[in-house]
């Protein structure tokens, strides 16, 4: 509608390999980036930014899980546990060794990657729902270990206070400062994932997902690449855990229980398996929808219910609406929000000449 795709000539390899070959796509991405990096922090108050911070943390985790579930086709219900591995590794480094964030953050990710790789070993033998059960076991084992091994958990409470990170000597105290901090890592994670999935490794992941026997026949070392997938995905999860404990100021094992794993799985399924944008959409949807439905119910529910009933109605109706919308979106578009977005985009691409 607004642009032409014809007439974009690529004259160098660099242009051919660009993430966004079309000028309009580059402009659109730049506009979104300016909106969220410049406009939002300058105009929004603490509350909207705190909600955005929750979304940003979720985006990193959803991206990581999507690499494993969406791109490689290996189901995992262990995200919460990998997050806790990252969180406790970083928390211990920060409290005992006063490690700065640029050590604690990758260290948390790497430790999670190591544990994730070990958990991924059964994936060579078992697939699908059986692998899901194996990762579920990992979730429970890691939870139990953190709960009972006190040199990891830092005491009976299993919670370690983590001071906010300092960047160039400035401690990030306000919501706005931590927003910038989180945004940096989200951008990094998005760019890394976009590039990963179009590299040799990413193509191997997709081959394994689509047909692992065929992938093996064309020379892909399945064992190695499945473990890569687990390691990369767990690295992202570990980083998410570290970011979350920096944001909250504490690492506590009850923040990373099985329901968190299921929330993240919901994000990638609703957002769209095997797409980067889908992970972002899923994280936004799952984080924002409960908030939005409550806003809606609080504003208009007073018409239908008395105020004392309303307090009981809102949370329950919220769950009903949340569940209903998930079913609705998946029925309308089983391939997730990303596909829905692409359908809309493709419609307008040729509009009004739809032939």
């Amino acid at each position: 509608m607004f642009h032409r795709e014809a007439g974009v000539f690529k004259t160098s390899y660099a242009a051919d390999m660009a993430l966004y070959p079309l000028p309009i796509a580059r402009w659109a991405v730049a506009a979104v980036a300016v909106l969220f990096i410049v406009v939002v922090p300058l105009t929004c108050g603490d509350y909207p930014i705190s909600v955005l911070n929750l979304i940003l943390i979720a985006v990193v985790g959803a991206l990581g899980l999507n690499i494993l579930v969406g791109y490689t086709g290996q189901i995992s219900i262990g995200t919460g546990a990998f997050m806790s591995v990252g969180a406790y590794t970083a928390a211990n480094l920060v409290t005992h060794l006063h490690a700065p964030f640029w050590i604690a953050l990758p260290a948390g990710g790497l430790m999670a990657a190591l544990i994730g790789t070990i958990v991924g070993i059964p994936s060579l033998r078992i697939k699908g729902i059986y692998l899901a059960i194996a990762t579920l076991a990992a979730q429970l084992i890691i939870e139990w270990t953190i709960n009972h091994v006190q040199w990891i958990s830092g005491g009976v409470q299993a919670s370690i206070t983590v001071p906010r990170p300092s960047v160039f000597g400035v401690r990030l105290v306000s919501e706005r400062q931590i927003y910038g901090f989180l945004m940096f890592f989200v951008v990094l994670a998005i760019i890394a994932t976009l590039n990963l999935v179009r590299s040799r490794i990413g193509r191997a992941f997709i081959a394994i997902r689509d047909q692992d026997i065929a992938a093996e026949i064309i020379g892909i070392n399945i064992f190695r690449y499945k473990l890569y997938a687990f390691a990369i995905s767990s690295f992202f999860a570990g980083v998410t855990g570290v970011l979350e404990s920096y944001y909250l100021g504490i690492a506590n094992y009850e923040q990373f229980q099985i329901d968190v794993s299921i929330d993240y799985l919901a994000m990638v399924i609703i957002g769209g398996l095997g797409s980067v944008l889908g992970s972002v959409f899923g994280a936004i949807f799952v984080t924002l929808l409960p908030i939005a439905t409550r806003w809606f119910l609080e504003s208009f529910g007073g018409v239908f219910f008395s105020s004392s009933d309303l307090l009981n109605v809102i949370p329950n109706l919220r769950l009903v609406i949340f569940g209903g919308l998930i079913i609705f979106f998946l029925v309308v578009e089983p391939e997730g929000l990303n596909r829905l977005w692409r359908n809309i985009r493709n419609y307008f691409r040729v509009w009004p000449f739809s032939y």
């Binding site: 709960n147 919670s159 909250l248 100021g249 018409v303 239908f304 004392s308 307090l311 009981n312 949370p315």
Partner: protein, 414 residues
């Protein structure tokens, strides 16, 4: 007009009314806003669905009597579903609304938000949640647990066992049955310290969550260990499973004491009713039962409106805890208004208001709390009620034994 367009119109009209309604609620200026979090849909909804309505009822009662010196109280409640991200969002929203104080709901939520209340200087109560160390007001200046911590509960449980077993625990066997999570393990330092002091034998039995199957532990306790007294520190569904188990194994329930989250009507009913649980002892941080004037006042208030008293009142344990919680908040606001001289108090003044609470018992429902700048627990008072003839009967007055031991552990805690 078709049905469809009519319904659209109705909805539009409804939205307009809703917006007007939301607008009018914000227009009042003599309002003291309290930000409450609750769990009505998550893991602990069995408590939340009773405790939170009780808080709202108490605010309503105070407002119906003219509020505090003409100030009305508004309790804004947000459900966090026992999830941390939801709790953060709720906190930030209530902070933006200008809440003078808050209530947190749930241990992980309280732990996660503690750094924020210190930064924003908002006094917050966390009745029965969070970590025991929060009783120390010098280390956790803005967090007020109010209710007796697990440490105080453990000490009171040992004192009760001692009284039940003839005043001497030397050589006696005590079984500690706990939910295998941080909260379950928390009383252990107190129990171990008292074990040395009193010379009893202590054995611990872990119950893995969710604790709906406890056959092995019950056999271990009743057939092998034969303890003289049992302390149950269980949550959720497991207290009722334990009561049923002891009953089935023939262990006398009058030698069993459940700590605060194993002691509600719901646990008794889930175990098979009052006759099954006859003799079972429960530890309470707010008075249990119906015999308190404030409960009669709430019933009167509903009668005046021509309504039945809410069904939540039947669950007296959780309901009375909600009343305690709200009553302490209102008392703190009263003190804060005195400090501010009738102006709208600041959050710092509300904090000071909390730290002046004493001699406030609400007809026996609230223990003789004395909250100070250093003691945010208010003394660690509990009362023990036994199950007799279909209701909770008082076994002891308000007690807080072994304070020296509890304070010692508090000092050495990390």
């Amino acid at each position: 007009m078709t049905t469809r367009s009519r319904s659209v119109l109705t909805l539009a009209a409804g939205m307009a009314v809703g917006l007007a309604y939301a607008g009018s609620a914000m227009a009042d200026d003599k309002v003291l806003l309290i930000g409450d979090q609750c769990d009505r849909t998550g893991a602990t909804q069995i408590v939340g669905t009773v405790l939170c309505p009780a808080m709202q009822d108490y605010y309503k009662l105070v407002n119906s009597k003219g509020g505090i010196d003409g100030w009305t109280i508004k309790g804004d409640e947000i459900d966090n579903g026992y999830k941390v991200p939801e709790a953060i969002e709720a906190y930030e929203r209530q902070k933006q609304m200008g809440a003078l104080m808050m209530t947190f709901y749930g241990t992980p939520q309280t732990v996660a938000l503690n750094a924020r209340i210190e930064q924003d200087k908002i006094p917050t109560t966390s009745p029965g949640f969070g970590i025991s160390a929060a009783a120390d007001g010098t280390r956790f200046p803005y967090l007020f647990p109010i209710a007796a911590t697990y440490w105080s509960q453990g000490a009171a449980a040992i004192q009760f066992a001692k009284d039940q077993l003839g005043g001497d625990l030397k050589g006696k066997k005590i079984a500690y049955v706990y939910y295998d999570n941080p909260a379950g393990k928390e009383p252990m330092p107190i129990l171990e310290a008292l074990q040395k002091q009193e010379g009893f034998e202590l054995r611990t039995f872990a119950v893995p969550p969710p604790g709906v199957e406890m056959g092995a532990q019950i056999i271990d306790i009743t057939q092998r260990y034969h303890p003289d007294f049992v302390i149950d520190h269980l949550f959720g569904r497991s207290p009722s499973v334990a009561i049923k188990g002891y009953k089935g194994a023939g262990y006398p329930l009058k030698k069993v004491l459940g700590l605060v989250w194993a002691s509600a009507e719901a646990d008794i009913l889930a175990a098979g009713g009052w006759s099954v649980a006859e003799g079972y002892n429960t530890l309470q941080f707010a008075g249990a039962g119906d015999d308190y004037p404030v409960r009669q006042e709430i019933k009167e208030m509903y009668k005046k409106e021509g309504k039945e008293p809410p069904k939540e009142m039947a669950d007296t344990v959780a309901y009375n805890r909600g009343l305690l919680q709200a009553a302490v908040q209102v008392e703190a606001l009263k003190n804060a208004l005195k400090i501010s001289g009738g102006q709208k108090p600041t959050t710092e003044q509300v904090k000071a208001g909390f730290e002046q609470i004493k001699d406030f018992t609400l007809g026996g429902l609230v223990p003789p709390l004395q909250i100070t700048a250093t003691d945010h627990e208010g003394g660690g008072w509990v009362q023990i009620f036994g199950v007799h003839d279909g209701k909770f009967v008082k076994e002891t007055e308000w007690i807080h034994p072994y304070r020296d031991v509890v304070e010692n552990v508090l000092k050495t805690a990390e």
